[in-house]
Symmetry: C2
Subunit: 218 residues, 2 copies
C-alpha cells in the first residue's frame, strides 16, 4: 500500500498539472488526496515545503521513466510509442542511449503528460515562488551531470566544461520542446527530430573540441 505522503505528493502533482501553482491552496491538495489539511501540514510543514517536495517527487518520477524505459517502470520495456522511444537500452552506444533517454520525455502517455506539465508549471512558477529555486537548481545540476556523463564517450579527452555546456543546452532544449509539445504547438515527431539534430550537432562540436584540445595551438 502507498504511504499517505506519496498519496499527497501524487495529488499535488495532479492538481498542479490541472490548475497551476499560482493561487494553489493546501486545501485543494488535501481534498484531492482525501486527507485532512492537518496531515499535509504535518508532512510538509507549509505550502512552500509541499511545493518543494512535489518538485522533487515529479523530478524523481521523470528520472524513473526516462532511465528505466517506461513510467513507473524500473526495467527496460517493450517497443515504445512509434519511432519516439525505442524500448531497449543501448548500452554499447552512449549517444543512442542519450537520445533514447531524452526522447522518453515525449511519450504520449497520460502519466508522462501530467508529470511534464506539473514540472513545467513548477519551473515557470519559480519566478514568483523564490523558495522553489534551490530545489530547481539542484535537480537541474543532477540532470546536466547525467547527460554530460552520457556525452563523455563521444570523443576522447573532451574537456568536462564542454560536456557540461552541451548537456546544459540539451536539457534546456528538451524542457522547451516538451512545453511546446504539451500545449500542442509542436508534434512529438517533430520535437524528436529537432532533438536528434541537436544531439548530432553537439556530438560533432565535442569531437571537434577534442581535436583542438589534443593539438597544440598553431
Amino acid at each position: 500500500m502507498k504511504d499517505r505522503k506519496t498519496v499527497i505528493l501524487e495529488a499535488a502533482a495532479r492538481v498542479i498539472a490541472c490548475r497551476g501553482v499560482r493561487g494553489l491552496r493546501v486545501e485543494e491538495v488535501a481534498a484531492e488526496a482525501r486527507v485532512s489539511k492537518a496531515l499535509v501540514y504535518y508532512h510538509f510543514k507549509d505550502r512552500a515545503g509541499l511545493l518543494r517536495r512535489t518538485l522533487r517527487f515529479v523530478g524523481d518520477r521523470a528520472e524513473r521513466y526516462t532511465r528505466g524505459g517506461g513510467p513507473g517502470d524500473a526495467a527496460p520495456r517493450g517497443p515504445g510509442p512509434g519511432d519516439l522511444a525505442p524500448g531497449a537500452r543501448v548500452p554499447g552506444d552512449p549517444l543512442r542511449e542519450l537520445e533514447r533517454r531524452l526522447l522518453l520525455e515525449f511519450q504520449d502517455l497520460p502519466e508522462v503528460r501530467e508529470n511534464s506539465t506539473a514540472w513545467g508549471e513548477l519551473r515557470a512558477s519559480a519566478v514568483f515562488e523564490p523558495e522553489l529555486r534551490e530545489e530547481l537548481a539542484r535537480a537541474g545540476r543532477e540532470w546536466v551531470r547525467e547527460i554530460a556523463d552520457l556525452l563523455g564517450p563521444v570523443g576522447p579527452a573532451v574537456p568536462d566544461a564542454a560536456l557540461v555546456s552541451a548537456a546544459e543546452r540539451l536539457t534546456v532544449l528538451v524542457e522547451g520542446l516538451s512545453t511546446r509539445w504539451l500545449v500542442g504547438l509542436l508534434p512529438a515527431g517533430h520535437a524528436a527530430e529537432l532533438l536528434r539534430g541537436a544531439v548530432a550537432a553537439e556530438a560533432e562540436g565535442l569531437r571537434r573540441a577534442a581535436v583542438r584540445t589534443a593539438c597544440p595551438a598553431a
Copy 2:
C-alpha cells in the same frame, strides 16, 4: 501622449510580470492602468482578448529591443552591457548579427527583465489558457522565420527545412535560457556563452548539410 490602449497593455504586462497570469483579474489591470474596467472591456472584449493582445504587445516590444539594439529604441545604440550585447549592427556578418540579436534578450535592464518575465509567464500559461495558443504559435513562427533568414547566408544551398530546424532549436534555447536567467539560476554571462556555443554548433551543422546537399549520394 500614449493612447489609453497602450497604457492598458503596459499595465497588463507589468501585472503579469509581477503576479502571473493564473488568477489574474481584469480589475487588477484596470487599477494598474488607472482606467475603468469598462474601458478595458471596450478595447479588448474580455480577459482572453486582453491576454492575447498583451502577448502580441510583449512580443513586439522584444522585437524592437532585439532588432534596434535597445529597449524602445528603433536605432542602433552605443556599447551594450558588458560583453553581452555589442551595440552596433553587424550587417556584413549575418552570424554575428544573429548572435547579437539573440544576446539582446539577456540585457540586464528593468524593461527587458519585465518584458521577458511577462513573455515567459504568458507562454507557460498556454497550458491552462488554450486561447493563447494561436497567438503564441504565430509569434513563434515569425521569430523562427527571422532567425532562419539570418542563418541562410551561413552556407550556400542549405535546404530551408534545415535552416528552420536550426532556428527552432535556437529560439527554444533562448527562451529556456532566458527563463533560467530571470530566476537567478543562470548568470547572464554563462547564458551568453551557452548561446554562442549553440550558434556555432548549428552553423557548423548547416555547413555540413550544404556539402551533403551539393554532393550526390555515394
